[in-house]
Amino acid sequence: MSGVGGLPRRIIKETQRLMAEPVPGISAVPDENNARYFHVVVAGPEGSPFEGGVFKLELFLPEEYPMSAPKVRFLTKIYHPNVDKLGRICLDILKDKWSPALQIRTVLLSIQALLSAPNPDDPLQNDVAELWKVNEAEALRNAREWTRLYAMGN
């Protein structure tokens, strides 16, 4: 199962494919010193309050990958009911719904989808979630404001 330098062939293959056929709106580049650590950039989806924003994330493939899920975290501040202050993401496939049949690619697509469709019923950031339910207009305004403040301009 292991390729050169102890890096499993699966990770090499996934990396190659991410480079050769990137997912639209997402870039994932392995760190030059650690092939298990990826620098990820996700563009805020069109029609969402995150549109126009560029969100940085980090993704790490633990030793047990693909038997256990990648660890993913937002580095850019984001106003989202399923992302907490530390950037941790509430997404079932990163926890108990993880399966080795999933990939880095599918994880990133799911995160992109989560930006398009926030789920305030399964929140990680309670005040954000509460506002999203009580006053969606204001929540969307906040999200747009945070996007402008933290996710634009570099």
């Binding site: 996934e14 047990e64 693909p66 038997m67 399966s99 080795p100």
Partner: protein, 444 residues
Amino acid sequence: MQAFGFFRNKVPVGLHVNVRTNTGVNIQAVLDPNWSVNEVKEKIAPKLGFPASEVKIIFAGKELDDSFKLSDCDLGQQSILHAVKVVRVSSGNQATGIPLPTALAHSLPVMDSNQQGEQGRQIPHFYVYCSSCKKMCVGKLRVRCAHCKEGAIIVSRDPCSWEDVLTPLQIPGTCEVEGCGGDSVEFFFKCAEHVPSVDSLDALPLNLVKSNTRDVPCMACFDVQDLVLVFPCSSAHVTCLDCFRTYCQSLLQERQFTYDPVHGYSVPCPAKCDNSLIRDTHHFKLLSAELYARYQRFGAEEFVIASGGTFCPQPNCGMGLMPHPDCRRITCEHGCGFVFCRDCRQGYHIGECERTDGSECSSNTDDRQAYRVDPERAAAARWDEASAISIRVLTKPCPKCRTPTERDGGCMHMTCTWPQCGYHWCWVCQNEWTRDCMASHWFA
């Protein structure tokens, strides 16, 4: 795999076989693989003492047709042929001709065949766990009478699924052994990789392991391997055997196998498909001996729990106990003799259980009545006691099943790690997780 293919397809020059008759005579014969069955009869008939025209030869559940060539049978060194004197003219409804393993290549839909044999032939491959070789081997399917266990039996129809093969008494047959009268067959497997001492132990069929003739990539490592395990889900998802082992190992380490009252302690398809539990747990023999031993221990423990039992909480004991359901006072019978309370798992006491979370844990149980302490044992067990105390300090029990649970970060929403429980609870309230918990102390 190349080695297997070579081994299976090349018929050795001189085939040493045992010929058995229905009267108990056993003779050794060296046969030429290019002979037809008719030639074999001519060769062995004199030794049997009756004319070749009155001999019928049975192999793997079929009477072999005269014109059939030996090299086309799944015949290996030291195989057993059954020579039977014809009593009546063939009644017509009995299957003759191609021996079963060869015929099955076309009729068993879930079975695979070697892609390109040396002579371009399709030869079926079964995989078995051989307890003599202590590993997975290529296997041979064989047939015997369910009654007298002899191989001189003719099947009345071919099995057409694994169910036919694995379910006893599913297929009728006619036993040719004098005085037996058996009328149903049983299938069994032999390891094809060691020359059998006659009638060596049966090998365990691994029906989910197949040659990867369709070049399906493993769902975990994406490589196309020669051998794969096909999960029993509707999509028939595939992993290579290495990834199957890693998958099982990671689940076993987290104790995430599923206990199913019908199929036992098992795992589903890694893609979490419905109804995909591996039903034949012999497949876990593919794990290392150490992991398999752990698998067996965990499985036995889950069975005890599912049957209403419990375990002695004493360090180094852990005896499985089946106390009366209404009884709170449990004695570790046949074990260390410890007497404990079913609810709090501490030494037995009268009255309410003391809460054992966090700071209060240091209160000792020594002064409890009915708590018999063997001083020597207690002295020897201090290290374990220390670890038991740290478990008590660092963990809280799941409010439903009492599995000690450590919280190493994240929010207060806990999901019980024991798959058979899965209870959602609140670390703060030590009760069911509610929206109120979310509102007041989700992170704090």
